[in-house]
């Protein structure tokens, strides 16, 4: 009986394999059909002069900072230069133990103001409120440490005055016109409550004064190269595909523009989850579906930000375990979305897809590997069959990455050198021979952690190597300390 069950499990693996690959193929087709239209609409916006009209919707950029003394000044300076007509920067010093606040005070001539903040969201108490005497649109909130990014973001939302908000990490690198593009869905559809952009990897790039100077690749670090490809697949066809069906389940926290009142209505970001960005997206869906309010969650593929990704085995493992734990947790918190009678494509296609092909996928993948070994042990494994399926799995895996590379080349061409293309080709092949399997194991661990409620340390080490070109000389001695940022501040792709 058990043996028959084992044999039957292979059918599950096969159906899973066919299902996931056909779904991704479908996303590719949707992306090829829709991405050019989306990008072309914005091309002239970028190519021709666009004087500000005073009719743009003002934006509050909320920068959460915890022990960021090495990068905070550069980061704020870069935000002060973005190309947008009306915006404010609200830096939330989340109880830093280093001199983040003192540096900000000195550099931007901060003056203390009475704390008259409109408190509508739960967060740790505010200790001080400052405004820059040099830049009227720069304000700093000093608060007690809340232990998670959500707490700091909620404080920033309370202190902000504009109708659209975006929570940013201190080390996020933006393109100058990122917000001009990201705001477009709000201008064209008043029902838009959230717009997400693309995230790319900054490791290997040259950054100067908070802006990207030259795009590059860390040739020797395959962990980073694999992640570049993962981000490409996620943002170039998966997101586009879901958005076309108005069922985008995830918007990355590192690049999301939120309608503030919609967030406040739901009580802001949740402090109980490992992935507050995903959780709020799902909660926004659930709330609007349940109440029948019309809404739109949009994706703007050419609104781009760059972020640092883990470059060591240890930090990458930690991030992926935490992401998957957070991902499963968020799906569980918002389980009412599944087959919700009013949920349309989101509830009947997108959420089941997320559960089967994302949340439970490591279970099926690891199960598949385990049973293959078992069959080999019992001598019933046909080498020809195993080889054929392995060849197919690897082939389809590489093909999907190559399709993403074709889209990247046709639409964006962010990687300028021919050598970049070749190294990405190589990485696309190698990725399937080990990394994907390890990744499945990390995600499996995350799934188990979620099931048993295990809490791993949320601190995540980042090398900050890309900052070396930009960081002030006197801060280099503290680089190692400052490269430790709160785990909650990473973003889920």
């Amino acid at each position: 009986m058990i043996w028959e069950l084992f044999l039957a499990s292979q059918w599950i693996c096969l159906i899973f394999f066919v299902g996931i690959n056909f779904s991704y193929l479908f996303f590719c087709i949707l992306s090829f059909a829709n991405l050019p239209k989306k990008v072309q609409n914005h091309t002239l916006l970028r190519e021709l002069p666009q004087p500000h009209t005073d009719f743009e919707i003002p934006i509050s950029l909320i920068v959460t900072a915890y022990n960021e003394e090495a990068v905070i000044v550069e980061s704020v300076r870069s935000l002060l230069q973005i190309d947008y007509s009306k915006y404010e920067i609200v830096v939330v010093n989340d109880g830093s133990k280093d001199s983040t606040l003192e540096i900000l005070k000195e550099e931007f001539d901060l003056i203390s103001l009475p704390i008259a903040v409109r408190q509508r969201l739960p967060h740790k108490p505010i200790r001080g409120f400052y405004q820059s005497a040099i830049y009227p649109n720069l304000r700093v909130v000093d608060k007690e440490n809340g232990g998670c990014k959500a707490d700091a973001s909620n404080t920033g939302i309370d202190a902000s005055i504009y109708p659209l908000i975006t929570p940013l990490d201190a080390d996020t690198i933006l393109e100058k016109d990122t917000f001009k593009l990201l705001v477009q869905p709000f201008l064209s559809d008043p029902n838009t409550i959230l717009a997400g952009g693309s995230i790319r990897v900054v490791n290997g790039c040259k950054v100067s004064k908070g802006f990207l100077e030259e795009i590059g690749l860390p040739y020797k670090n395959f962990y980073v190269l694999f992640q570049i490809l993962e981000y490409m697949r996620a943002f170039l066809f998966v997101r586009v595909g879901w958005e076309v069906m108005n069922a985008l389940p995830i918007v990355s926290g590192a690049m999301g523009l939120f309608h503030k009142e919609s967030l406040v209505e739901l009580g802001g970001f949740s402090r109980k989850t490992h992935a507050e960005d995903l959780e709020i997206t799902l909660r926004l869906h659930l709330h609007h579906i349940s109440t029948g309010k019309p809404y739109k969650i949009a994706y703007v593929p050419d609104a781009t930000c760059y972020t640092e990704v883990p470059d060591t085995y240890k930090s990458l493992r930690k991030q992926r375990v935490r992401w998957h734990q957070g991902f499963t947790e968020c799906l569980w918190f918002n389980r009412k979305l599944l087959f919700h009678p009013k949920g349309k494509v989101l509830s009947w296609v997108s959420i089941p897809f997320q559960i089967i092909f994302e949340a439970l996928s490591p279970l099926i993948e690891i199960g598949g590997y385990f049973s293959t070994i078992l069959f080999w042990y019992f001598g019933v494994l046909s080498y020809e069959g195993a080889l054929a399926l392995l060849c197919l799995a690897v082939g389809v895996g590489i093909l999907l990455t190559f399709v993403a590379l074709v889209l990247e080349e046709a639409m964006f061409r962010k990687y300028p050198k021919m050598s970049h293309l070749f190294i990405l080709f190589v990485a696309a092949v190698i990725e399937n021979l080990g990394y994907r399997q390890i990744n499945a194991w990390w995600r499996f661990t995350g799934l188990i952690y979620w099931a048993i409620g295990y809490e791993e340390s949320r601190a995540m080490a980042r090398s900050g190597a890309w900052q070396k070109s930009a960081a002030p000389k006197n801060s280099s001695q503290n680089e190692e300390d400052n490269s430790i940022i709160k785990g909650g501040q990473g973003s889920h792709t």
Partner: protein, 354 residues
């Protein structure tokens, strides 16, 4: 027997073939990427070579139009037009004439007229914009048809070009559509109306507001109220402030109100049940209030809504008779803790601003 226990030779056969097809597609994708890159690099090289030549011709054209122009190849037409449009959008009127002559010499009007029918959105947008900048009246009907295009970027670009060709005629097409096209960018709409100018839009705008069939349409138009002449809009604003029950309508009217005749109406609305109306009423009093409004604003600074308190405190600070010392005294003696805090905040902001 498939080794995993699935007894089917067919599945193995299929897997082999699918795997082989995948690898073939990978190979083709790789070649396609390399082809795209090579083509793009070559294209960029050509554009760079020709652009520098065209750039100097276009820049020199501010003074004179060259008697002989190089041939504009099909490949470089788009990049040339981007440059041409860029210059024309950035220049003052008198410098534009020669650029327009060059465009006609190169028969760009013909290219643009053909490109209007293309599926490529970028080229279509470029064509629409070019025809507008050329003031090409012969293409009016086609551009008018494009104002109802499903793509909001295309339809708004067509409106903008029509405005450039004939402001009055285009405004009569544009205004009725603002209330109906919910997908149109609010900022682009404002940009177009601003370009048309208050002398053209004021009267038809008020007429359109009066003809609005519902509150939703009315509100969409009211957002642009301050782009029209105040003296033209004032009677309508007054009427709406007196009669409307829709808080959004009242809110947008309060944003634009500047006529001292309406002061009593604004004062009454400081007690409106909706906080957004109270906020705008406080802001309006900040613009047009008198010393008689001091008590009202002190009271409003203690409102239960943060925004009303903030705008009322700001308005209070703007009153002619309010000195810094007096403001501090008001903050100190304010009966409401939140009101006192808010006035102190505004005092601090004013100090920072100085």
């Amino acid at each position: 027997m498939l080794g995993f226990g699935i007894d089917s030779r067919f599945i193995i056969w299929l897997a082999w073939w699918m795997g082989a097809i995948s690898f073939l597609l990978i190979f083709i994708s790789g070649l396609l990427i390399l082809f795209l890159r090579t083509f793009y690099d070559q294209h960029q090289k050509n554009i760079k070579n020709q652009s520098s030549e065209w750039e100097s011709i276009l820049l020199n054209s501010f003074e004179f139009v060259p008697t002989e122009l190089p041939v504009l190849t099909k490949r470089t037409t788009v990049s040339f037009l981007v440059l041409w449009n860029y210059l024309l959008e950035s220049l003052q009127d008198e410098a534009k004439e020669n650029l327009i002559i060059i465009a006609y010499l190169l028969k760009l009007d013909q290219w643009a007229a053909t490109a209007l029918r293309q599926r490529n959105v970028r080229q279509k947008l470029l064509a629409i914009q070019t025809l507008g900048l050329l003031g090409e009246k012969s293409i009016w009907d086609e551009l008018e048809t494009l104002t109802s295009d499903k793509n909001s970027t295309v339809s708004l670009a067509a409106i903008r070009s029509l405005i450039k060709i004939d402001k009055k005629k285009a405004i009569s097409i544009f205004l009725p559509l603002i209330g109906k096209r919910k997908d149109w960018s609010f900022s682009m709409g404002g940009k177009i109306l601003k370009e048309a100018g208050p002398e053209v839009i004021s009267e038809p705008f008020v007429k359109q507001l009066r003809n609005s069939s519902n509150d939703d349409e009315l509100v969409r138009l009211l957002r642009y109220l301050d782009l029209a002449y105040m003296q033209t809009t004032a009677p309508l604003i007054r009427e709406l402030l007196q009669t409307s029950e829709d808080f959004k309508t009242i809110k947008f009217c309060l944003k634009a109100v500047t006529d001292p005749q309406d002061l009593e109406l604004v004062r009454k609305l400081l007690k409106h049940e909706h906080w957004e109306v109270r906020t705008q009423a406080a802001s309006a009093l900040g613009r047009m209030g008198t010393d008689d409004d001091e008590k009202r604003l002190i009271h409003a600074a203690g409102d239960q809504e943060w925004w009303v308190r903030y705008r009322a405190a700001q308005a209070l600070a703007n009153l002619p008779s309010i000195s810094e010392e007096k403001l501090e005294e008001i903050a100190k003696t304010h009966q409401n803790f939140f009101g006192s805090d808010m006035i102190y905040k505004v005092i601090g902001e004013r100090k920072v601003a100085l």
